[in-house]
Symmetry: C2
């Protein structure tokens, strides 16, 4: 089954305590697509300027990511983000952000993409996310990401959106902000009461939590000593989850839990290098091997 | 097999964002002993003043905790700690601390206790911990806890101690402080290189990590929405681990991993009420039931 993703395609400049990279490929839709492409066909909707390097287009095409929905604005510049990670590699400061062509992004879902059974609304304003939803026809599963900005500035629109989707993914701090609950278990349950059938809370290096009507569980991150750049980890995580669900064509609790584990593992590769570098060097079999190790780690 | 624990027996006053308790039973040796007593016989070495309420003594005796090593100083006052938790229930401020009789604590291990096969050196100065070690005869397993104060102020003595023990338990921030490594996987491995055969890093609400020569793994905390008071969670965790190991009389990797899980689960009960209140209301079968749920949660 195919997955439609709508989000940013970006150019990132990243500083970590030990290394830096200038103008590498980034963006939520990019990280999501690449991660999901290990499992299922992906259709991307986004926007770039005509400064967007052809090599990045090729890289995504190599993974069979359908770029029919990637709008190229003539004379426009691609979304640019420059960030710097703290020593703990979890906190980061945004040094520069230029929305550029993304500032006027009015997502148009190509006719061919409208019947995608799985839809992922990467982090964006709930208004833009809702506009995408209006264009898709009969999706089986819609999952959205969000962030503190939208929780603070467009709360009502976000609450509307939450009633229309199946699942939502957000960070721990965002779940607390949305619900005013400091306990994450309660925060997750409260978010679920706002509408979605399931809620996934990302805890960065500490893993992720899952909440549905009948289940609450937590999965640790895969312990890696090689954290080079956490950028894109959250979107890779979502990509692994949605990719596995699309591959299985099944959203039952057992499949969802396994999907979450795949999300954790794809993200564990993403952070081991900058941009898509680590994912470029792996195959599905590497993810499955890590899955065996992860399952072994969690059995006693 | 019996476990010897040496540490504090204290009176705590605790404020949380929603509740407070004055003058309840606390202390590292107390929390450890009570947790371990679900699994194996415990021998406690500590000191209190003659203000220490008899009801607390009875409570520990009811769990078959051997108090022959609990020194009562006439005219002395028991160690007192007053703390206040932040909204996140992880960070806390110490409002008052009176070492009282613990300030001059010179642990004397009773003759009967010296051949205890398992020894837990609860958080204390490495000099005091070493003094205990000198008094025990042929232990099978010695595990110590420590804290930032000793890492900062008595680093050399701590490094000496680490060479003489089998396992060490510390918080994530303490492991980073000791090794100057921000990545917890590397920090854990570096601590192990300082001497102990295994290292356990406590991550509070995010669970724990384990490091030995051939194994690195992480276990999430059991997700509870009922975090009333985290005081004693770390010592309960250690108590669950050591208790299970003593019960099994076996320290192989499989048993150690299962012991860690028991530690996580006992601690998950501890935080559900103040002091020992929650543990007082459970039995071993409740822990085993939660173990079944925990294993189910981690299988996919």
């Amino acid at each position: 089954m195919s997955i439609l993703v709508v989000g940013t395609v970006a150019i990132d400049s990243i500083e970590t305590p030990t290394q830096a990279r200038d103008h590498v490929l980034g963006g939520s839709a990019t990280h999501f697509s690449y991660a999901a492409s290990f499992f299922a066909p992906v259709r991307l909707v986004g926007v770039v300027g005509d400064d967007f390097p052809q090599q990045h287009v090729s890289l995504l095409r190599e993974r069979q990511i359908d770029l029919e929905g990637l709008q190229v604005v003539k004379g426009g510049k691609t979304f640019y983000w420059k960030g710097k990670y703290h020593a703990n590699m979890n906190d980061r400061d945004t040094l520069e952000v230029h929305l550029n062509v993304f500032g006027d992004f009015d997502p148009h879902v190509p006719e061919n993409f409208r019947r995608s059974p799985l839809v992922f609304l990467a982090n964006g304003s709930p208004m833009v996310q809702s506009k995408v939803l209006e264009q898709v026809v009969g999706p089986k599963l819609v999952v959205a990401d969000t962030m503190d900005l939208w929780i603070r500035e467009t709360r009502d629109e976000l609450l509307d959106l939450l009633k229309k989707i199946d699942g939502v993914v957000m960070n721990d701090s965002e779940a607390k902000l949305l619900t005013q609950e400091e306990n994450l278990v309660r925060a997750g349950q409260r978010v679920r009461e706002l509408g979605p059938k399931f809620v996934i809370i990302k805890k960065g290096e500490h893993g992720a939590m899952f909440f549905s009507e009948h289940e609450t569980y937590v999965m640790p991150a895969y312990p890696t000593e090689q954290v080079v750049d956490p950028t894109g980890a959250g979107d890779s995580f979502a990509g692994g989850i949605m990719g596995y669900l699309a591959e299985q064509d099944n959203f039952d609790p057992t499949t969802l839990k396994r999907a979450l584990a795949y999300g954790v593992l794809v993200a564990s590769f993403t952070v081991e290098d900058f941009s898509l570098e680590r994912l470029r060097r792996i195959q599905r079999s590497d993810i499955d091997l890590r899955m065996e190790q992860y399952q072994k780690m969690l059995s006693f």
